[in-house]
Symmetry: D2
Subunit: 151 residues, 4 copies
């Protein structure tokens, strides 16, 4: 992430809003995922390898891969939404391109098209080891902006 | 499940093969999921509600919903495969139709078309409470049969 | 279609609205497609075989299969919309399960979930010959309801 | 296309094989589509505007948009296949991002991952007018390589 400068980052308000939302996600903590980058229209999430995340052959389970991909896309969309709104995933499609291995996975969600109601994101997940970074999953996601309920 | 008779079940050999594979999935145990029904071309997986599975509004996270949907479809395909083969998810698409709430989720994977190389499954996830059962997600999945590696 | 009674049909107003919209679709006429059934939440479209619809092996082209599947789903959603609204396809996913052959294709669009803004449909396409009817494609589609522009 | 040099093109043999296959597709001729670029892992298809391609509001029909997207992806995969093989679409998913308007559409299929059995492509469709080029659809496609049947 060293090549990313401060200008690549979303505003402190947006980053704070997203980090606060992320921390309310029980699943992300349970999996061990963390947000590592929040830029306008782009969010990165990292998930370190552990036995609790495997499928039957010892690779990362597609459910873990998908969970961080979906979350990265959702927050990428959310960086472009106004205050007092929420983001919900409408649907996504994901291709599992290669066995998901590595020291950690890195999911990158990127906004392709941001509309008033619907946003479409590209989802990429990389398996990252000491010597290589492999695209292990690629997907496309549709999200909807909704008004935040009164509290 | 009371309405399902013994004839609905896959053979003991197939059920044993699938339960053994399921138990090797670290993620399913970590989430708290269990297989509740294994029929030819159809598998059910149940996931009880717990705070470790939530998204930011307290519902089941789409990643948890998807993880059991993908797994149910994968094993539904696997019930129809010969011995000495393995199943891999090629891709899936899932629509999140309603907030995923309830005492537990139940994912149902059903084979739509079983080919020599590729299998296509329907994925359904229900939110189940004491008084109702709501379809919360619906999807479609492509799987590939591969030869089991020699050990 | 003999087993379908008059009660299966949408109201005359809805059927008229949909037939009028269908007739404005240049592509449907160019392909030779026609609407054969309009029920609440379900629409059938038939496409007779002709050389102008083939891919390189002489089967129906996936583009023709998809075009009638998308249209059947769109109008299935539209049967449930109020007057003064329009329907737009947000996205769809389709699996091509078998070579699309037969005297004609029949696409069936069925509403799975109808919401205020978004509707989700199941898409099925059958290849129909004198002696059999084969599921050749299966898909899932998301649609959005928009206000009809003033004229 | 002016920026593309001869080196961007596939070999004459591959281009000939793809053009011959394209010409056997009745649907592409019926729609008025033509292949404009064949590079290793990338194919462009152009579809000029005409009333026979419209949906009910006068835009390009999603079926036309999808037909050229699917075809561009299929031939992009095929550029990387050995002789004596064929390509079949397993499935695709497409988001319709904006009204498809313009003097013509241009579909670009690009291979994301080429495997021995399966290939995954990105699909993009642009609406092109005298002054702008807009991304109107974006998708993802899975294809399978099969042996060419003996003749």
């Amino acid at each position: 992430m060293g090549e990313q400068t401060r200008q690549d980052q979303a505003s402190p308000e947006v980053r704070e809003r997203i980090r606060a939302s992320f921390e309310r996600q029980g699943l992300m903590a349970h999996l061990g995922a963390r947000i590592t980058h929040i830029a306008p229209g782009r969010v990165h999430i990292v998930l370190p390898s552990r036995p609790e995340l495997t499928q039957q052959h010892g690779y990362f389970h597609a459910g873990a891969t998908s969970a961080i991909a979906d979350t990265a896309g959702g927050y990428a969309a959310y960086t472009l939404f106004p205050d007092n709104t929420e983001v919900l995933t409408v649907e996504y499609k994901i291709n599992l391109l290669a066995p998901a291995t590595g020291d950690h996975l890195e999911a990158v969600g990127t906004v392709l098209k941001s509309g008033r109601t619907l946003t479409v994101c590209q989802l990429e997940v990389f398996g990252v080891g000491s010597e290589r970074r492999t695209l292990v999953a690629n997907g496309q996601q549709t999200l909807i902006r909704v008004a935040r309920p009164e509290r």
